[in-house]
Symmetry: C2
Subunit: 423 residues, 2 copies
C-alpha cells in the first residue's frame, strides 16, 4: 500500500472505514450507472433466543411493515418508486438488508433502509399474519426432501453448546412451530435492540468519490444504536449417522458434513483448491466418480460452508434407493483419498477454475457488495480481487499436498440420509 | 444508425452478422478480462420426435462424451484446463452450449464447443448410463411438487398440434420413461443431423475488435452443417381445469396460464409493464393482495413465458390446503381487474423497476451473451440496452391502459392445482 494514503484505502478502488459507533463500511468504486449495497447485521437464525426460534426471520419481515410514519404499503411503494430492487434476508449467521438501483437513488435507498432499522412502526396487528406465513414456509419445507435433508444434516452435525441461551443451527430462518408460538411483540422488540453497529458491516459498490460514499453511509447509518454481536459456536459432532425415513420419496438423498478450514486460517485457499478438485468442474473427482463413471446419481457436489467462524465441508448426492449405498461408498472413497494429494494437472485445473470464478463472481454490483460485506464479517478484511488472484497464482502443488497430508475429512464424517429405506 | 457503417453494426458496441451458412453471430464489445458465449441451437425438448421424448436432453449429454479423438474424460479436462465454466443445457425451445472464461482462452473454448458439435465420438456404450441418469432425474422431479405442477400446467395448457411428429411441451428435458426406452444410437445420430446453422445463434461478449470476434466465430463454427429449424406451435388450451392429487403434500400449489403478447408484437413492452405492476416488486398487486394483505401464501408470482414464438402469462402460488381456494380467488380477481388499467403511480413504479432491471440484467457477461442469443432467436434482432431504456422511457400510461383495455387474461385462464385435496 503506498505510503501516505489514509489507512482506509485497501487497494486502488477498495476502502474500509470503521465509524465511531463501530459500523464498518467497505466500499468499492466501480464505473457504471448502478449502485448496490448490502448491510449485514450479525443476527441470524442461529442467534434466535432458545425457545423463540424464528425471531430473526419474523423481525426482518416485521421491520418492513411500516417505518418513519409510512404504512407498510407506503414503504413498499417508496422502494418501488425508486426502481430499486431489495435484496437480503435471514440466514443462520446474519440478517442482510440490501438494495440495488441507479446511482442517483443511492442516498434515498440508504435512507429507506435506515428508516426500517431505526424508525420501524412494528405494528402488533401484523404479527399473527407473519406467523401464519412463517408456518406456511415450514410446511413448504416439509414438501422438499432436499430442504429437509439440509436441516437434518445441520441438526446432526452441530450441537447446541451446553448452557447456551441461543438456539443454534438446527432450525430454518422461519423458525419452529413451537418457537413461532412463543414469539411476542415485546420479545421481538427486545431482540431488535441488539441490531446495531456492533459487528455490522455495510458493503457498498458505486461510481462515487470515496468521501462521498462515506458521507452517504454516515448520514444514513451513523446514528444507528450500538447493538450487540452475539456469538454462536459451531460445535461439530463427528461420526453421527442419521437416517430420516420418507416412505413416499422416489429418491434417496445423502448429506455428508466434515470439518474444514476456518476463513481466517492461512490454509483457507489451499482448502478451496482441494474442494475445487473434488467438486469444481466437470473433471472434478466427485462428478467423475459418481456420475460420469458409474451413473450413480444425477446430482453430486461438495462445497465449503462457513458457520461460527469455522469452515466445514458438506457434500450432497441424490440417488435411487437401490444405488444409494454404492453412491455413499464412492463419495466416502473420494473423501478418503484426499490426503494422498492432487496430481499436478488437477491442481492446475482447480486453480484455473477458481481464478476465473474470482473474475466472474465480481461482475454484478450486487454480488460484489455482498462479497465485500462477507469479506469483512467473516475474513476480517476486504480481499481485493487482484490480491486474491495473486495469492491463487502463488499457490504451489507442494503447498496444497502438504496441507492435504493432514486433512482427512472422511475420518470424522457425519452422514445424514433421507429416503424410503435406510442406506 | 449513422450512414456509412456496415450493416452488421446495430449500436456503438453491438454487432450482428449472418454467416453464409445461416448462423447468426451477435457480438457485444465490453471492457473486462472475461469472455462469455452462448450458442443456441433451435432444438429443445419440444422438438423431440414424438415417442422419443428425451432425445434432445440425451443428445446434449452424449455430445460431451468425447470429441475430436478426445475421450470424455480428456474433453472435460480440456475445458477445466482452460478454467472456463460451461453453461447451457436443454430447454423446451433450444439446446444451448456456452462457456465463459478469461479472454485469452476464448478461441480455445470456441474450438472445444465446435469439436463437440462437429466431431463428437458418440460412444454407444455410454447410452445406458445416460438413460439411467435421465430416469433418476425424472424420479427427482416426482419428489418436487413445484416441478410436477409446472409440468402438469404445460401439459394442460399446451396441446400437441394434431398430426405433428414433434413431442411438444408436455414433458421435461429428461424425457419420459417410454421415450427414453425408445431412444437408439441411430435415432439420436439422425436427430443430431438437424443441429446446424439453420436458426442457430451465437451470442458473444468480449473486449475484442468486432472483426477479431467475427474471425473467431467463423473459424470455429463456419463449417457447421446446415441443419434444420423445426417449428412447434404453442397451441394454448383455454379454460382447462386440472387437479393433481398428492395425498402426502403439506401444501397446495396453484398454477395459472393465460395468453400474453408475442415478443415480436409492438405491445410486448406495454405487456411487460403490466406484468411488472402485477408481480414485479413488493408493492405489486399479486404480492400485496395475496401475501401482504391476507397472508394467504408464502410465495406468489406471475411472469411471462415465451413458447413457440408466442407469449404467455403464468402465475404461481404455494398455499395451505385450507387457504388455497381463497388464494385462487384473489389471484383471479387481480387478473380480472387488469383491463381496468394501472394507476399513474403503478405505471411509474413498474417502468422504473423494469428500467433498473435492464441495467442489472446486463452486468454479467454470461447473462448478456445469453440475452444477445435470445434477442436474435426470439425477438428477431439485437436489442441494445440504451435503445431498450429509451423505449421504456417513451411508454405512457395512456398507452399501457389502452393495451390493457383489450387484455383480459382471466377470461381464458387454464388452472392446474396440486395438493392433498381439490381446490
Amino acid at each position: 500500500m503506498p505510503v501516505g494514503l489514509p489507512p482506509s484505502q485497501v487497494s486502488s478502488s477498495c476502502f474500509l472505514w470503521t465509524l465511531p459507533g463501530g459500523l464498518r463500511v467497505a466500499f468499492e468504486r466501480r464505473a457504471g450507472p448502478g449502485f448496490a449495497f448490502d448491510l449485514r447485521l450479525p443476527h441470524g437464525s442461529a442467534h434466535d433466543p432458545r425457545g423463540q426460534e424464528g425471531a430473526a426471520g419474523m423481525l426482518e419481515e416485521w421491520l418492513f411493515k411500516g417505518a418513519a410514519g409510512r404504512s407498510a404499503r407506503a414503504l413498499q411503494d417508496a422502494f418501488d418508486d425508486l426502481g430499486v430492487r431489495r435484496s437480503g434476508g435471514v440466514g443462520p449467521e446474519a440478517t442482510r438488508l440490501g438494495a440495488s438501483g441507479l446511482k442517483d437513488d443511492l442516498g434515498a435507498a440508504l435512507a429507506l433502509v435506515a428508516d426500517v432499522l431505526l424508525r420501524p412502526t412494528l405494528p402488533e396487528a401484523e404479527l399473527p399474519v407473519l406467523k401464519d406465513l412463517a408456518r406456511q414456509d415450514l410446511e413448504a419445507l416439509e414438501d422438499s426432501p432436499a430442504d429437509r435433508l439440509a436441516l437434518g444434516a445441520r441438526e446432526a452435525a452441530f450441537a447446541r453448546p451446553a448452557g447456551s441461551v441461543l438456539a443454534g443451527f438446527a432450525h430454518p430462518a422461519s423458525g419452529t412451530l413451537q418457537g413461532l408460538a412463543a414469539l411476542t411483540a415485546a420479545g421481538l422488540r427486545a431482540h431488535l435492540e441488539g441490531y446495531g453497529q456492533a459487528g455490522s458491516v455495510l458493503g457498498l459498490v458505486a461510481d462515487l468519490e470515496p468521501e462521498a460514499a462515506l458521507d452517504l453511509a454516515v448520514g444514513a447509518l451513523g446514528g444507528l444504536r450500538s447493538g450487540s454481536c452475539p456469538q454462536v459456536e459451531a460445535v461439530f459432532q463427528p461420526r453421527v449417522r442419521v437416517h430420516l425415513a420418507d416412505a413416499d420419496a422416489e429418491q434417496t438423498h445423502l448429506s455428508l458434513t466434515a470439518p474444514g478450514v476456518a476463513p481466517t486460517d492461512p490454509r483457507w485457499l489451499p482448502w478451496q483448491v482441494a474442494l475445487s478438485a473434488l467438486s469444481g468442474g466437470s473433471a472434478s473427482r466427485l462428478f467423475h466418480a459418481v456420475r460420469e463413471e458409474r451413473g450413480l446419481a444425477y446430482a453430486v457436489s461438495a462445497s465449503p460452508v462457513m458457520l461460527g467462524g469455522r469452515g466445514f465441508l458438506t457434500a450432497y448426492a441424490g440417488s435411487t434407493p437401490a444405488r444409494a449405498p454404492e453412491t455413499l461408498q464412492v463419495m466416502l472413497a473420494e473423501l478418503a483419498r484426499l490426503p494422498r494429494g492432487l496430481s499436478a494437472e488437477e491442481f492446475r485445473r482447480a486453480r484455473a477454475g477458481l481464478s476465473a470464478s474470482v473474475v466472474f463472481g465480481a461482475e454484478s454490483a450486487r454480488a460484489r457488495a455482498h462479497a465485500l460485506t462477507r469479506d469483512v464479517a467473516v475474513f476480517g478484511h476486504v480481499r481485493p480481487l487482484t490480491e486474491l488472484r495473486c495469492r491463487l497464482a502463488a499457490l504451489t502443488l507442494e503447498g496444497i499436498n502438504g496441507f492435504l497430508e493432514d486433512y482427512d475429512p472422511a475420518s470424522a464424517l457425519t452422514t445424514v440420509t433421507l429416503g424410503p429405506e435406510d442406506v
